[in-house]
Symmetry: C2
Subunit: 230 residues, 2 copies
DNA sequence: TAGATCATGTGGTCCAACCACATCAAGTAG
DNA sequence: CTACTTGATGTGGTTGGACCACATGATCTA
């Protein structure tokens, strides 16, 4: 077993034993190296991996933001990994879109009306009305859809939804170049968003699921999924 | 931007530009360090991250298995990340089970009969008849379910299915201690597996989806999901 | 009292050296 | 000529030490 894996397993055990909690700090790199009788390099490689997985965050200096702190951000971590595999063409973008539609349909079908997540989703819709620029709009769009997914109360589903969306965010932005008129599309997306949210708040999960699936597939079909942007 | 991130982005660009293909080799660590004008340490940290994401594999020595080679194993990589987040109790096991049931139901409902993946699934069932030990059985069980999921032809769904199953494999093994009699449960699981595969091969996706959801939830309910094993 | 300065501790980076390993080529004994 | 041994080469794995940038808090000073 390689040395950094030993460090990795030690830290994972600390986590699963509850000796290292969310928000807690790892020992300083030099201290941990001495404690485990390995080099600081090996400790650092282990921390790099945990950082890539969204389990810790490393900060220099001293005080609140300093040191290596345990966090819980699986979505961005999984998103990066998926993006790389999309880059190697091992995971087709079409499959990602299809999976995202599957997860999100399930989520909105089971979303509870009048939850904080839905209130946040409604707020994001207001904000989207004021931001017409493609990048701003898409950024808010991601947050709206993730908020929707969170309303179902399944952390794994919303995490995966977010990571899938993030993995192809750059791709989606590039696809907008294929659209005949962004303003027209944006107006349609806004209307669809409101209809989806309305259905969820009405407790009509079945209709919400249909609308969200049509919403997702509609955008990628219009933008020409699989075609290179001009 | 930190130095290892620079290396990471350089490699990601090589991948998305198609200059680095599946099975291809990265430049040697020392050569890459000189080429990018960074230290070997930073190159190594980048490679560690890619390795954790299942994008490359590092091998010592010379010849076929040597060097850093581009691979495509997202399932095990995502599985490790999910397992760590389960360890921090940020992702509940129940949510993982529910998500897995969702993905797998969808997959079997769309699985095409008479595909190579289903033939492999059938072969695995034969093998499971001969392996009664818990660990062997569960290992084959994972492969059976992944083979089933592959028959739907969506790489992202089967990848996520596999990673979810892997993330809680240790948990599932521990849960078997809660079962009153493993042999009885194993016999039931074998029968359910055959019924699922039969439904898929009959083209009855709807029935297959119902069976697989009942199969998954049934096991975890019987084993006492959420309860500590004795 | 208010500001400047220094000490401390953190992660970030780099370097030089050595190890373990696998392969291949050259040399050597048969 | 064959078969084995030996050494050279190139790979990632590991280590210790040095220095940097940064943020904070204590201390000194005007």
């Amino acid at each position: 077993m390689r040395t950094h894996e030993l460090v990795l397993h030690w830290i994972e055990k600390q986590l699963s034993d509850g000796q290292l909690l969310l928000g807690g700090r790892l020992p300083a790199e030099r201290a941990l190296a001495e404690q485990l009788q390995v080099s600081r390099t090996s400790v650092r490689e282990a921390i790099r991996i945990l950082e890539a997985m969204g389990v810790v965050r490393a900060g220099v200096g001293s005080g609140k933001d300093a040191g290596t702190v345990v966090i819980a951000e699986p979505a961005s971590a999984l998103g990066s990994a998926l993006r790389l595999h999309v880059a190697t063409q091992h995971l087709p973008v079409a499959d990602i879109v299809e999976t995202r539609a599957l997860l999100e349909s399930w989520a909105v079908a089971r979303a509870k009306p009048d939850t904080p997540a839905l209130a946040e989703a409604a707020r994001l819709l207001e904000e989207m009305d004021a931001h017409a620029a493609v990048d701003d709009f898409l950024g808010l769009d991601v947050r709206f859809h993730v908020a929707l997914a969170e309303a179902a109360g399944n952390a794994v589903v919303s995490t995966m939804m977010g990571s899938l969306r993030e993995a192809i965010e750059g791709y989606a932005a590039a696809l907008t170049a294929n659209l005949p008129d962004w303003e027209t599309t944006a107006a349609r997306l806004r209307a669809e968003h409101r209809a989806i949210l309305q259905a969820v708040n009405d407790g009509d999960g079945e209709r919400a699921a249909e609308l969200v699936a049509a919403h997702i597939h509609g955008f990628y079909r219009e933008a020409g999924l699989g075609q290179a942007p001009d």
